[in-house]
Symmetry: C2
Subunit: 306 residues, 2 copies
């Protein structure tokens, strides 16, 4: 059955992949957000229409039609930005969520709202792997704002019966991601720049491939309800930054090892590892292992990162 | 020493009393918010200037000068309104707080920010009296938004060193309050309208007089710091709605007793009683008992509620 879908922040890395995936399943996908696409480009990413606009109640009323699914990918996308510009990060993450939920409450009662959240809501975890019930102690405006957006989802579900679902994603990556550790590393190695990295290399991340991410978001749309179900999105496997980068060095033909500055970075917890039993109970499982995903990423980068 | 003070929401019940109190101590008080005061009226409430404007970063930059104290009284003021208009309540409570904190971070580094929050953040308490460490489970958008605003205060303190303090007020009342239970009861009795009340009368509230409220806010301004101290504002005495209204009936010369509908009201927890030890450790104590305060209120009402 063809669904009407709205993807906010469809220009972003997760948003565009969600749009293309859902369009590929035959759904009609409208995108709202910021980003310099022309019509051909937005269509190539699966959008029937792309509206360059802030995500507000007014723009949703104007452009969103009567969706049956809203994937709310708009929001702050970087811990560093949230420290530099906390009010903007608040507006991007929290106020857009308030607008999406109000739109669903009044104008799209049948819509399921899926919000990709972040493991940053946990902050420095006391125990690994991190289950959804772990204490929430974000250590950055980015994480705090994601927590506030989650609270709005739960509020609109409990108070007004809006169908919502939240997925706390760990480190999402894949071909097309032009920021964060993998991009920076590939970019600097390609330029033969000195490749010294933050931290001591012992930090762990749980790397989830974009294909698995999109599949989990689509499933969350079907699980959404007035109980606001919430699951982690990760693989359940921790990879240290040293191990990841060393592997990346080899794939790029380097025989030396990554060097670490030793210092940490503000707002970045040291260890991340997802407990993914809740998402598995939905019938989802990650399929792309990190080595396979890293090979894909390097292939994409070497082909000119298009 | 004369301080530059900004009171947001200065037209509201708490805001105007805060403004008048601080002006009476010799401080220069600027007000920003909505409300139909002419110049003489705003001056009578202690304001050197009154700016009718949304509380945004832009309006604060334009009107607030370089305050040493910001009392952020702007915000949603009713559980019922927050259920009817949740997005507006969010904007009034959360987004104004984000703006005030960003203003303090960038333009008023020396300012202390005091935010009057609400016992509504606790929701239905599991144990009485309610200490600040009690779980936060708000049962209305009003309470959830207050919790989010508190989280922003803590975020700006921890992340950026902004000096903040939060006071969770229970049932603030006093002459001049033209809403909520006391006003409704006086108003209906004066009109000889049938006086049936929500609930069963066994609900308890912790009634804090506006004079004690204002003194606690002023003290919170001196306690504010980058640890974002947070205290309850109440008397530590629970009064049932039945007891309060029966007393009110007598003060108004009625010999009958209040009648209750039996039904609860959405978003209103049944029992409230503050643990006030934390505020007492600051050296504050409530001075006006509820019977004395109720007499004052009735006197004000009988004199025409001016």
């Amino acid at each position: 059955m063809v669904k009407q879908v709205v993807v906010t922040g469809a220009y972003g890395f997760i948003g565009r992949h969600v749009a293309r995936y859902l369009a590929g399943q035959g759904h009609r996908v409208i995108g709202i957000g910021h980003g310099g696409w022309d019509r051909a480009q937005s269509q190539a990413w699966g959008l029937s229409t792309w509206h360059t606009a802030d995500v507000t109640l007014e723009s949703l009323i104007t452009y969103a039609g009567r969706p049956e699914l809203i994937v709310h990918c708009a929001g702050g996308a970087s811990v560093g930005f949230s420290i530099e510009r906390p009010l903007q990060d608040y507006q991007r993450t929290v106020s857009t969520t308030a607008a999406v939920l109000e739109f669903a409450r009044i104008h799209a009662r049948e819509a399921a709202v899926v919000m990709p959240s972040s493991a940053a809501v946990y902050g420095n975890a006391r125990a690994l792997p991190i289950a959804e019930s772990a204490p929430l102690q974000p250590v950055s405006p980015y994480g705090e704002h994601k927590r506030m957006a989650e609270n709005l989802c739960r509020l609109y579900s409990e108070e007004f019966g809006v169908a919502t679902a939240v997925v706390r994603f760990f480190s999402v990556y894949g071909p097309g991601l032009r920021k964060q550790l993998l991009w920076d590393a590939c970019d600097r190695l390609a330029r033969n720049e000195p490749a010294q990295f933050f931290g001591d290399g012992a930090e762990t991340r749980d790397w989830l491939h974009i294909d698995d991410t999109v599949a989990l978001i689509e499933l969350a749309g079907r699980q959404a309800g007035s109980d606001c179900p919430l699951v982690n999105g990760g693989t359940g496997q921790a990879v240290s930054v040293r191990e990841l980068l060393t592997h990346l060095f080899r794939l790029l033909g380097r025989n030396d090892d990554p060097v670490f500055s030793g210092g940490g970075r503000n707002g970045d917890p040291k260890y991340y590892l997802a407990d993914i039993k809740a998402a598995q109970r939905w019938g989802w499982n990650p399929r792309v292992g990190w080595r396979e995903g890293l090979q894909q990423y390097v292939d994409w980068f070497r082909q000119g990162a298009v």
